[in-house]
């Protein structure tokens, strides 16, 4: 039995009081940990998913919605834009790269994105198995999609109309998995990528050949050449045969206004895409291009950095409020520890005097009392971290949106260590004033006064 053991014994001896103090601290630390995990992972994920993308061009509407739908794949698109925009922007000397996106379908909740291999390359996507798509209805699936659906190379699947996965199936146009990507830690992990032509064709348009080479602009010129073919009467009739309107109602009720026509569904008969991801060649583009697009075209340009800063600042108000509440809770628990120890030590003055009689040095008794506060705080802090991670894990498991954002409980942030150290420091501080009494104790008087 040591003085440290005595600290533990005292805590166990008043178990209810100890448990309540630990609970209070656990709640405050858990709240802070959840905030840290959520905000840091969210910000990091935002940054990672927007890597390399300077501008997003899409249909008029909310710029934040355009960014969320095109980059983070968490919202419905604002609409579609003419395919001709691709060539228009590729012809701009200040633009280094244009990556088209065609959205509208999904498989078991995972979005099917019609695009070019450059999209995969942008996220550093590397094939773990198989090969990159080279023709319509060939699909390359992200690591999470492969893991969650169990899909393997050569397997076929049917896309569902709509982004939520409960629309009608495009049964006559199954996709074949030709490649599986290694995990990237980006949005790519939960996407199914395929040529843009697949999306067009799935919706009844005979898509122009897509070579799958983002650099081959001639192929895109070919798109224009095939427009007449794509938009013939049969194509529209086939498309109508999908009962497209019903599909919209079934699959997108919650986004009735925001739901775009799917990429191939040309309002005026031209092929369309959902959005374009732009990389600048020069900084001049940042000055000129968004302004030009927003003011002089029917399109909308939104910069991911700007929109995400705005979103994070909006979220930040709420996060700051919760953080302030959690800090207040932590201060309350510190005060509670102080009151508990102060009150306990008043009752234990006789014990302290007896410890001195038995030869314990004042410094050792002081340390044992501070240790009591530290043990309380450490238990609360560590439990708080555990509870915080458990809540994040449960949230990620319960809410697909959070899981899709990449929220994970399996990561520890440096800020958590700071929180734990702050909580332990607070426990030590709360114990300090009661502990200092040991240096002032008159042993003989205390032994005479206490029974």
């Amino acid at each position: 039995m040591t003085l440290a053991g005595l600290s533990l014994a005292y805590l166990k001896d008043r178990a209810l009081n100890t448990a309540l103090n630990i609970l209070l601290l656990t709640l405050s630390v858990a709240t802070l940990v959840i905030l840290v995990l959520f905000s840091s992972q969210l910000a990091e994920r935002f940054e990672r998913d927007a890597q390399g993308i300077d501008l997003v061009v899409g249909a008029k509407g909310s710029p934040l919605q355009l960014i969320l739908s095109s980059i983070y794949q968490v919202d419905v698109p604002t609409g579609n834009i003419p395919l001709a925009t691709v060539d228009l922007l590729r012809a701009d000397p200040t633009v280094a790269e244009v990556i088209p996106l065609a959205l509208g379908d999904s498989f078991r909740g995972y979005r099917i994105v019609g695009t070019e291999p450059a999209y995969v390359e942008n996220f550093g996507g590397v094939l773990a198995q198989g090969q990159m798509f080279a023709a319509d209805y060939q699909a390359v699936i992200g690591a999470q999609v492969a893991r969650e659906t169990g899909a393997g190379l050569g397997q076929k699947f049917v896309g569902s109309h709509g982004l939520s996965g409960d629309g009608h199936d495009h049964e006559e146009t199954p996709y074949e998995v030709v490649g599986i990507l290694a995990p990237t830690g980006t949005v790519l992990d939960r996407l199914i990528v395929t040529p843009v032509g697949s999306i067009w064709a799935a919706h009844g348009f005979a898509a122009p050949p897509v070579e799958g080479d983002a650099e081959d602009h001639d192929d895109h010129a070919g798109h224009d050449a095939d427009h007449d073919h794509d938009h013939d009467g049969d194509g529209h009739q086939d498309h109508a045969a999908h009962d497209h309107e019903d599909g919209h109602e079934d699959g997108h009720d919650e986004h009735a206004e925001a739901e775009p026509e799917h990429a191939a569904h040309a309002g005026g008969g031209d092929l369309e895409v959902t959005a374009l991801l732009i990389k600048y060649r020069s900084s001049m583009a940042a000055v000129r291009l968004p302004n030009f697009i927003n003011k002089q075209t029917e399109l909308q340009a939104a910069a991911p950095a700007v929109e995400m800063t705005r979103l994070l600042s909006l979220l930040g108000v709420g996060i700051d409020a919760v953080r302030a509440f959690a800090i207040l809770l932590m201060a309350t628990s510190g005060l509670s520890i102080f009151v508990a120890l102060y009150s306990a030590l008043r009752q234990r003055e006789g014990d302290m005097a007896m410890l001195r009689v038995m030869g314990a040095r004042p410094g050792a008794i002081f340390g044992h009392i501070v240790l009591e506060g530290v043990l309380l705080a450490a238990a609360g802090a560590l439990l708080g971290v555990a509870v915080g991670h458990a809540v994040v894990a449960a949230s990620a498991a319960s809410f697909p949106q959070l899981r899709d954002m990449g929220l994970t409980a399996a990561r520890f942030e440096t800020a958590e260590l700071v929180i734990v150290m702050a909580a332990i420091g607070m426990g030590a501080l709360a114990a300090l004033i009661p502990a200092l009494k040991v240096f002032r104790v008159d042993i003989a008087k205390t032994l005479a006064d206490t029974r």
Binding site: M1, A9, D13, D351, M354, L355, V357, M358, G359, L447
Partner: protein, 222 residues
């Protein structure tokens, strides 16, 4: 260090005042290793004050106490604590067992503080010697008065101190228990070779000690 013939406790011209009023004036006496002394005095005679001076908890107004040859009041606080820790075991009337610890843990803590380490076998042996083996895991609040006093005696002896002092150890006990308590103190001190000093107003113990000193109530100056 002292030889067996040298006194472990020496009290000379000891007097203690509080606010100018004498609360204790002790006769000169010395106790050698293994000697058992009964210090008798009525309430208010300063027995507890004398015990506190002997254990170094208070500094007397005048006179001196030597413990194992060292003048207690002349030592710095840290050395006084060390001398008390290594040399003296104390039994109080109110027991002063740590309520959050079991009997065994109370002994272990006292032993650790005195010796810097635990000797589990010695603790178990002492617990058996005071007849508390079946109550070793009980908390003080779960013990009867008699069991608690036996635990307090065991704690005072667990570091094998050269000196055991007891302040009114039997005042709350009936005759049978008072005799049993003093016999236990005598037996355990005998077994460990400790010098025993019991301060009490309880005349029932007089017959059990070879040597009795009397502490008179200090005279208040007119």
């Amino acid at each position: 260090m002292t030889t067996p013939a040298e006194p472990l406790i020496e009290v000379r011209d000891l007097r203690h005042e509080i606010d100018g009023r004498c609360v204790m004036a002790a006769p000169a006496f010395a106790a050698v290793r293994g000697e058992h002394t009964l210090l008798l005095g009525p309430s208010g005679s300063g027995k507890t004050t004398l015990i506190n001076v002997i254990t170094g908890l208070i500094t007397p107004t005048s006179g001196e106490v030597r413990i194992a040859g060292q003048v207690m009041s002349a030592l710095p606080a840290a050395q006084r604590d060390q001398l008390r820790r290594r040399t003296i075991g104390v039994v109080f009337q109110t027991l002063r067992l740590i309520g959050a610890l079991s009997v065994r843990q109370n002994l272990a803590l006292a032993q650790r503080l005195a010796l810097g380490q635990n000797d589990s076998a010695a603790i178990e042996s002492l617990i058996a010697q005071v007849g508390l083996t079946h109550r070793a895991d009980a908390r003080p609040r779960e013990l009867s008065q008699g069991e608690g006093q036996r635990a307090a005696i065991a704690r005072a002896l667990c570091a094998k101190p050269a000196i055991v002092v007891a302040d009114e150890p039997t005042s709350a006990l009936d005759d049978a228990n008072a005799i049993a308590m003093s016999d236990l103190l005598l037996a355990t001190a005998e077994a460990t070779g400790a010098t025993l000093l019991i301060a009490t107003h309880d005349n029932r113990l007089r017959a059990r000690f070879d040597r009795t000193l009397t502490l008179a109530t200090p005279q208040v100056a007119a």
